[in-house]
Symmetry: D2
Subunit: 293 residues, 4 copies
């Protein structure tokens, strides 16, 4: 297959490296051109001038962008007309289910296939090819692009029709947000009650209240006060807002997740664009006047 | 040691069995006398007529009751005056930190020690002696009763001063409540989006949004529509209310956990006294007009 | 002016009557044709077969529809092409600010003016011509249609650009929703504390916690258990959802209003399409197991 | 009657002035002695050294303190033993219903009557004798003290048994809190939509979303940016917490008022002890990055 890879950010770049290791022909493009050129040199592939140049003649076009808005803007800006009938766009963006359905319909009208394929597993998962990939689309289209997905993903799951991949990703991430925040509130109480966070986590992780956050995020980051920037709070805010909007669209009463989305918005505003998602607990610490961990 | 065990409910009875296997002398008491007599016959130990009879002369008095109110009522009703100086009350109830501190102070005035020691791990953990025990109290008092605790617990953690054990248990359980409810809201959206719960859970459990609820409760209970009564919603409501009250007392702003407590109350009212805690998702299903799993 | 009036519901019909009393020429249209014909006979005006027929040659086209979606559908269905350059659409629907801006832009491209003009004051205000009208649009366009607005409105306020009228109406209505619900929660507590609702309202209405709901809705409706259907809960749910979505779009963290919108959704689902908005308190009564008033 | 007045704060002092104008004998006491002495000179009454000195021989003892805790502390510190059988304590504190019931029971055991009588109407209402007084207690006891209450209150309402006055006051105040906060969220959206707060309030105050806050607080304070300290946010936080706790005790599911209490806590922490209650909107302004009014 001839593959175009558009969007070489923190996750996109290592994903593109893994695609390069398997596919015969790869073209890469990035908004900041220097990143594309550096990666193209490293991989000995072509750095395209525009998304359209990258996509022209490609069988599969992978996109890995901040939001669905960026994909729409690329399509409007020339990408759509460069896509050839029979090609498939694989969108690895953590996007909006609703916008994604609109994009797929638009491409279908031109005979271009579409799979939404957001990923989970972080930078290290991308580097090691162990990402979880949540695919939405026709089963046959998903099957056609599966070999490419397998270059960076270990668990490739076809979850439903177009947009379903985005919905699963958004739900997963708002659950992450809810877990981080509720654990922060709980540990703030325990800190006030004389229980160190490390002790509390030790017990919770052997009990029914444990989560990925209590097991894999808080011990190092909150107890150790190391807040590596693996996933920006600004992006988790965006994902939580996507999930909250989808819940509203689907008319699912969801008081707890709607409030979770508001709190992510608050924390994002309070801590700025560069904060990591786990730093959201600092807002709770300030409100409670207590240090967790 | 001479041990008295008061409260032989779903968790208390198997815990008493394990104590019996290790300790020289055991007396048991239960509000419904028939349960005490049956267990006493099975274990060949003494079934006491009253809590005071059980406690007289005991080195350690273990209590495993619905709430702290029941322990206070037993103390008022004759138990307190039967306790001998030097004895230790080990309260395995999931109780209130505040009430627990009052009880411990009252006992201390009589020279009686106190350890709060709520447990996690359910009926099967009690049967197999693999409970997690969260101990609050003086280190020396905790050490004195540790051999008894080891008869039913595998992980015995001294988390802080009197009441801290209760606080950790309440926080663990309100986290469980938050996880069950947020996962229910999220899966209701996904059901609407054409994603089966089993598929969604498969992906979430390989991603950052996983929790003990998504891994160990929902696959069998929500997907399989088996709702075994392992832990009554009424009790989870009580624990969530305990945590919410402790958060307020400690002046920790906690919008998400306060709302969690309200939702447990709603679900408890809607589903009644006998529903299992995971059945809370049925309220979400009704609100959303969708069946999860 | 030649005026077309589209949408003759509970509010629209009395508004059309007042327009007829002032304007030289009026054409009316309604989805259920019988309502239009009856009103046309009563007023001795023309009942149009289609919205386009009503609008052709009209200077002002007033729309009073359930939501912005219905206006978009009418425009798509022939209304748009029947509008003449220089005409003005006055939309009295309680609509979405965002959809309204899109509609206005679409009409502007054809030289057709637009004013959003949702109203407050209920059926009796429409009958008596004492409605409050919240106008969004260019000042000059608002001025052009002011004489028509004055036929049914006593207080005509130009609140801002296109969409601003819809935003003010949505905010007003979500405040109404919040007032009804919070008052319901508070009175449920007081009922439990032995304070009759009539006594509680008497005091609150002389104190700082009073609102239009406590003064003008609850005394008759909740205390008197008369729940006249003056404004359907289904419509208040829709308005609250509109406000909640606008708050999200504007990135205003709004935990209390977002939760208000969720509760309206819950109450709407629980009580059905025909319930009046004040009946939402019945959900609280059921949750609390208490009768208010 | 011989009246003792304990607590001469912002509201207490003008209330005591009005009592002095009617009653034959008045003794005053205040924690900061200088305030008591100044008022005693002004009124030509006796400034007592201790609460007990003030209360000895008094027929009616009026208390106007920050919280129920202060009253309990005064009783413990000698006041209780100075009260004579047949005397009545009239507690004008905005206190806790639960604590109040305990205090009344304790006094009843000594033959001392009790009426809870929190007031609404602010400093100016106290000065002009136009307060609303919410009385809890036996009808006969309320009647006995009514003449004293009429010296500062215009509307004296017997709302129910002991504690009911406190409950009504707490509910009134948490409604005030909810109105201030929801109006702040709504106006933040409208500010973003190009609608000035003065215009928005003009419309809302002619519509169904109006409240005492929109009519009497926001026009001057938020639009005019004058934030006179008429009622401290710290006290409104305390009252909201009282109401939230009473709702929990009464097992009334109350998601909206519980969240209101959390937001008052947040705002109190963010703005400090001296902020006025209406300044809570500054927190919303900061979150939303917009200036209202």
């Amino acid at each position: 297959m001839t593959v175009a890879f558009l969007g070489l950010g923190a996750i996109g770049a290592p994903m593109a490296r893994r695609v390069a290791a398997r596919e015969r022909e790869l073209r890469v493009w990035n908004r900041t051109r220097a990143r594309a050129e550096a990666l193209a040199r490293e991989l000995d592939v072509h750095a395209a001038d525009t998304p359209a140049d990258a996509a022209r003649g490609a069988t599969v076009v992978i996109t890995c962008l901040p939001t669905s808005n960026e994909l729409q803007a690329l399509l409007d800006g020339g990408l759509e007309s460069a896509l050839e009938p029979g090609a498939v766009v694989v969108d690895c963006t953590s996007g909006s289910p609703e916008a994604t359905r609109a994009i797929a319909a638009r491409l279908a009208a031109r005979g271009v296939g579409f799979v939404d394929a957001p990923v989970s597993g972080g930078v290290s998962g991308a580097e090691q090819g162990t990402l979880t990939v949540m695919c939405g689309g026709d089963a046959s289209t998903v099957d056609r692009v599966r070999p490419v997905l397998e270059s960076f993903g270990r668990k490739i799951v076809h979850v439903g029709p177009v947009g379903a991949g985005m919905a699963v990703k958004a739900v997963n991430n708002i659950l992450l947000a809810a877990h981080v925040w509720t654990l922060g509130e709980g540990l703030a109480l325990l800190a006030r009650s004389g229980v160190p966070a490390s002790t509390a986590l030790d017990v919770i992780n052997a009990s029914s209240g444990r989560s990925n956050s209590s097991q894999n995020l808080f011990p190092e980051r909150v107890v150790g006060r190391a807040f590596p920037r693996t996933f920006r709070l600004a992006l988790l805010d965006k994902d939580a807002a996507t999930a909250a909007a989808a819940l509203r669209d689907a008319r699912v009463p969801s008081p707890l997740l709607q409030l979770t989305a508001e709190l992510m918005r608050l924390a994002h505003v309070a801590l700025g664009e560069e904060a990591d998602h786990v730093e959201a607990v600092k807002v709770i610490e300030e409100w409670a006047g207590v240090r967790i961990g």
